[in-house]
């Protein structure tokens, strides 16, 4: 069985910047993985490559053994670090949109989560507060039964209660044949739900290890270890 996510000697260059250099990663199913690194380390670039929004300069990236394309987009659910949904659409219209294009979208689950949060279905996205907008985006992304979830900074800029809600949603959505990759620089908040941690800086992978191992070896939290490793 193919690993759900694999990078082989992956490099990506932009004019004036080497965003990723010789990245090699293999992720198996049923894991919650943290992609941890400072701002500008290449986390977003890696996720965009996985979604076919960028093309590699060198090397390959594979989802379930396939290069990014129509087939991988069916099994990858991506939450970008920006507002990318049509502002003028209502929540109901967005749910219908997702249902239209994604076979694995679970409409009832999405509707239930939206209603439980007290968000009106007919509200247009642009009328919602920033925090609510982010919750809606997360609900839409997590309501798909995908094989790979790529969440780019899902908890940044969100209040602690919303953060708890987001982490809770991620855990409750957990499935043995899906893998969730969370990229963030707020490590202490997500540590307890991670299986594995990948440290990335300046486009290079520094470390890829199970979280409990890191704690045992270093006698400190991943957050503390991260600060050690990235001390200025």
């Amino acid at each position: 069985m193919n690993p759900v996510f694999e990078c082989r000697h992956l490099s990506k260059n932009f004019p004036g910047k080497e965003a990723l250099q010789d990245v090699n990663i293999t992720l198996e199913r049923g894991r919650i993985v943290g992609l941890l690194g400072p701002n500008g380390s290449g986390k977003s670039t890696l996720m965009k490559l996985a979604n076919g929004l960028l093309c590699p300069t060198q090397g390959g990236i594979f989802i379930d053994g396939m290069a990014p394309g129509e087939e991988t987009k069916k099994i990858v659910s991506y939450l970008p670090d920006k507002n990318y949904l049509n502002d003028w659409m209502s929540v109901r219209q967005l749910i219908r949109f997702f249902g239209d294009f994604y076979e694995d979208f679970q409409k009832e689950a999405a509707v239930e989560m939206i209603q439980r949060l007290g968000i009106p279905m007919q509200a247009r996205l642009k009328t919602l507060s920033k925090g609510t907008k982010e919750k809606v985006q997360l609900i839409l992304v997590m309501s798909r039964k995908a094989k790979l979830y790529l969440l780019d900074e899902p908890i940044g800029g969100v209040d602690p209660a919303a953060r708890d809600y987001i982490l809770h949603t991620i855990i409750s959505n957990y499935s043995e044949d899906a893998t969730v990759v969370i990229s963030t620089h707020l490590i202490s908040d997500v540590e307890s739900i991670l299986d594995e941690a990948i440290f990335i800086a300046d486009g290079k992978i520094l470390l890829h290890s199970p979280v409990d191992e890191l704690r045992e070896k270093n006698n400190m939290s991943v957050d503390a270890w991260f600060r050690e490793v990235f001390k200025c």
Binding site: P15, L53, E70, K73, Y84, N86, F101, Y102
Partner: protein, 270 residues
Amino acid sequence: MLRKLMKYEFRATSRTFLPLYGAFLLAALLLAVFDQMHQTWGNSLPWLDAAALVTGIAYGILFIAVMVMTAVVAFQRFYRNLFTDEGYLTHTLPVKTHTHVTAKLLVSVVWCIASIAVFFLSVLVLSIFNLQPAAYGEIFADLVKWIPESNWESWAFLLEIFLLVLLYLVCGILFVYMAIAAGNIAGRHKVALGIGVFIGAGIILQLVYLLGITVGVRSTFDLWKDIPDYTFPSWPLHGFLLGNIVFFLFFSAVFYILTSWILKRKLNLA
């Protein structure tokens, strides 16, 4: 998938066009009304002068607006939907890249045709008080008479001209799409590159066209001598039209393939 994409394209674009068309036709109606009132009561109600003038200007402005918006929306949708933040949603849909191009192209063509139809409709509305059903009836009768008298060649001409106009439109849209896509390959100075490609490809296109015409006319020169006599079947004319059709069909395909390829292999979303 194509149908779904087109459904959402229409939904997004009709938010602009339907109100615009509505306002345009309303202006036409108001103009016709004020003009008629002016003719009947112009002397006793001087403000009708101003009213007719204002609505006339509004009609003119909206006329230009419809033209401009049809072009703007066609290209702006393409750019925004595929090359800006909206692209995060568009490009992660489980759809082949070229399907996106097809969807946008078809929707743009439909709006072009719709805009033209609305223009004709507005002309009809303008003359609503001066309708002469008799005149229209005469034209219609003439047409009906002509059908059995015409031969296959007239139909062929009609079809060829229709196809040519359509292909010209399609090719033009795809040409701009390609320039936009090509421009985006650049890391910086995307607009400059886009314009450069636009001009460069435009020049190439014109040269090839000239070449085609020259070669075509040269090789069939004998046939062209007969044109003044206007005998049927007029093969040179057919040849000319068909040559044009092939030309635009070929380049439409080229631009389509190039645009799709750039979207698939050279995408660099910020």
